[in-house]
């Protein structure tokens, strides 16, 4: 009688251990179809992707260049981390199997990415990047997801003088520390809401309220929003902060409702977008426009929120309808189709900027013609290219000064670019219809 439960307990305990370990593993990187061999190194929590046997038949490779990345597989940024990995992996697969590796001088090298799960924690991420540099001896680093984690990991990269190119840390504070080894392909956070606020000011909006999570990236977005709102002749009525992992924002919405502003600007990350939309609906508050920092441009947002997502405006680093075109990956739409073919889901802009990140680093290595840190850094400074993701031209601090930020609005369930005018595919719908009339 007592034996069975004991056996079950042991089984369950074993299952628990397996699953717990599985969480730290980066198992999904092995799902990439056609990447023939996935090398698994000695350490149990490490997997690598990229090196393939099939290409060696076509071309002689002189060796492998190792890239390291600590990206969330679990924790708060698990979703965005997955997009980031999928973006990096798409580049690695394309590079090794189609492009023919990285050309350094006369030799061609395969690329290999070593991943760790940073669990969304900045201390863990910093430790893992240190491990990537000292134990795994990677040649270059690719960035993690989120500004906070980029802040902590770039400090380690600077300490060891290893170059990190990133595409998912937009906070200006990352680039204000005088670091020489951090480069970002994305538009910095302060400019996130610029095109949306300009379009709204042109449409007649006069007053703005801002709510933001008090972490690095949302704070930069909010500071930028305040600046641009004033610049375009609007008045900021209130500005509220809220903590990470907030569960209830009704107090903020109640305060804002009493002020009756035209435009709401808010959010920090994907979950906050869901909270703000639901809270505004249940407090029966319809501002003329809602601009939400992260979320609206992700196709998942429309799926989950349904009709309530209509009229919501969001900044976007990239959309597949944008007109960028180059020799690497073709147009934005070409890249998007390749991504869908590989991962079976439409890409978010986080995935696009991750591929662009790896591409920029790869092209800098080719331009430098060596793996030497100083030469590759100089090649990054000298870089002036246009990719499927947009123009890339780093300024002295490592920010991409060349790329404009777009704004999208959800219209009849479709994510349409509405600003800036040169990239827009549809007109801005303003003001927003009440929640009941959808």
């Amino acid at each position: 009688m007592r034996r069975l439960p004991r056996a079950l307990a042991i089984l369950l305990a074993l299952a628990l251990v397996l699953v717990a370990c599985g969480g730290e593993d980066t198992t999904e990187t092995t799902q990439a179809p056609d990447s023939a061999a996935t090398t698994v190194a000695a350490t149990p929590t490490e997997t690598t992707v990229g090196t393939t046997d099939t290409t060696e038949a076509m071309m002689e490779f002189a060796g492998t260049i190792r890239f390291g990345a600590a990206v969330s597989d679990t924790g708060r940024f698990a979703r965005e981390g997955q997009d980031t990995r999928q973006g990096y992996d798409l580049w690695a697969q394309w590079l090794n199997e189609e492009y023919g590796g990285i050309k350094v001088g006369d030799d061609h090298y395969l690329a290999e990415i070593v991943y760790y799960d940073d669990e969304g924690d900045s201390d863990t991420a910093a430790n893992l990047v240190e491990r990537l540099i000292t134990e795994d001896e990677v040649d270059f680093l690719l960035g993690p997801y989120s500004s906070g984690l980029t802040m902590s990991t770039s400090a380690i990269a600077e300490k060891y003088n290893v170059i990190m190119v990133e595409g998912n840390g937009a906070s200006e504070t990352i680039f204000e520390r005088g670091f020489k080894n951090i480069f970002a392909v994305l538009t910095p956070a302060g400019n996130y809401t610029q095109s949306a606020l300009k379009a709204l000011a042109d449409a007649g909006a006069k007053t703005v309220v801002i709510a933001y999570e008090d972490t690095a990236f949302p704070t930069s977005v909010a500071a930028g929003a305040e600046k641009w709102a004033v610049e375009y002749g609007m008045t900021v009525l209130a500005s509220e902060t809220y903590p990470l992992e907030v569960a209830d924002v009704s107090s903020i919405i109640t305060t804002f409702k009493a002020l009756d502003p035209d435009v709401f600007v808010g959010g920090g990350h994907f979950n906050d977008a869901l909270l703000f939309v639901r809270a505004a609906k249940e407090q029966d508050w319809t501002p003329d426009a809602m601009v939400i920092t992260v979320g609206p441009s992700n196709p998942e947002f429309v799926t989950e929120v349904g009709a309530d997502s209509e009229y919501i405006i969001g900044p976007t680093q990239w959309e597949r309808t944008m007109s960028w075109e180059t020799g690497w990956f073709g147009t934005a739409e070409d890249w998007a189709q390749r991504y869908e073919g590989l991962w079976g889901e439409p890409p978010s802009y986080q995935a696009a900027e991750s591929t662009a990140t790896a591409l920029a680093l790869h092209l800098a290595i080719e331009a430098a013609g060596t793996l030497d840190t100083d030469a590759v850094r100089q090649a990054l400074y000298d870089m002036d290219i246009t990719t499927f993701y947009g123009p890339i031209n780093f300024d002295d601090t490592g920010k991409n000064a060349a790329k404009p930020m777009g704004s999208i609005q959800i219209q009849d369930g479709i994510i349409n670019v509405v600003a800036p005018t040169e990239a827009a595919v549809a007109d801005l719908r303003y003001p927003m219809a009440p929640w009941g009339d959808r």
């Binding site: 509220e240 107090s251 109640t254 979950n271 639901r278 249940e282 407090q283 029966d284």
Partner: protein, 297 residues
């Protein structure tokens, strides 16, 4: 005045949600002395069950409760029988470790099964009622209503039924309960099953208002811990009052302190916890367990 009333309503609604969310945690702790660190993950599982039923069969989360609760009861009963019962008599660290491991395992399992995409369920009970300048959020009012029904049923069950009395007896004095012929293991499994069913129900209830994702559990466990300490272990009226007190405090600070209100409210709730622990360690309302006076030397 309208703003004050609105803040009060928001606070009471938040309190109802808190009470529903922490009740299972509180009763498990009160009856068995086990601090269930996988509590938040059980909320997450309930929320996902509700989402699956909503997504595939269009079932309203308030209806899917009827399916979610029995499933969660079975999960709880089995977990207790094969896992928790083995550590319940050991020092508290053992059960802490087991439930902590369980929380990591369940969260990662959920990620494998459901992916990390945040989800929401749709409910017909959405929108807002306006009554004299004050807005009642329909979903949260319904959550409050269902939470009250669940809480009063549990209260009646513990007070008036034979099984309920056995559970209270086991909480008060395990030895004596055994002597009078109560099968402690069975009572514990039943308690755990009921509490997990209630916890899963809380998950289903909040699924239309909060993003459901695999790692949503940890902050919820922390919250449950705070309110339990505030309210007293296993006390049902205490859970309701504790939740509402905390909800109103947070809501008032959130509305009346400009700029940093929502941040300050979170700090306030933990300051309140420390004050209560120092001045009234048995919680505001006492609880199922007799309070043990520290030994005099």
């Amino acid at each position: 005045m309208d703003l004050f009333l609105q803040a009060l309503i928001n606070g009471v609604m938040l309190g109802g949600f808190y009470a529903a969310m922490m009740l299972g945690f509180s009763v498990i702790w009160g009856v068995m002395g086990v601090i269930n660190l996988a509590h938040g993950e059980m909320i997450m599982v309930g929320a996902y069950l509700s989402w699956v039923l909503n997504e595939n069969y269009g079932m309203d989360p308030f209806v899917s409760l009827l399916i979610v609760m029995p499933i969660m009861f079975v999960i709880g009963y089995v977990l207790q029988l094969i896992l928790i019962n083995r550590v319940v008599n050991r020092p508290i660290l053992a059960s802490l470790l087991v439930t902590f491991g369980l929380s990591i395992a369940v969260a990662n399992l959920a990620k494998l099964v459901f992916s990390a995409d945040p989800r929401l369920t749709d409910t017909a009970l959405s929108g807002a009622w306006s009554v004299g300048g004050v807005t009642f959020p329909v979903t949260k009012t319904a959550i409050m209503g269902v939470a009250l029904i669940i809480m009063s049923s549990l209260y009646l069950f513990l007070q008036s039924t034979r099984t309920g009395k056995s559970i209270r007896a086991a909480a008060q004095n395990k030895q004596a309960a055994r002597i009078v012929g109560i099968d402690i293991n069975k009572i514990y499994a039943l308690t755990f099953g009921i509490c997990i069913a209630i916890t899963g129900a809380a998950g289903a209830l909040i699924s239309p208002t909060q993003a459901v994702f695999p790692f949503m559990g940890t902050p919820l466990t922390l919250r449950a811990f705070t309110i339990t300490a505030l309210a007293g272990l296993g006390s049902i009226p205490g859970a309701l009052m504790g939740g509402v007190v905390l909800g109103i405090v947070e809501s008032m600070i959130g509305v009346y302190v400009p700029g940093i209100g929502t941040n300050l409210a979170i700090i306030a709730s933990f300051v309140l916890l420390v004050v209560i622990l120092i001045t009234r360690p048995q919680g505001l309302f006492g609880g199922l367990r007799p309070h043990e006076e520290p030994a005099q030397i």
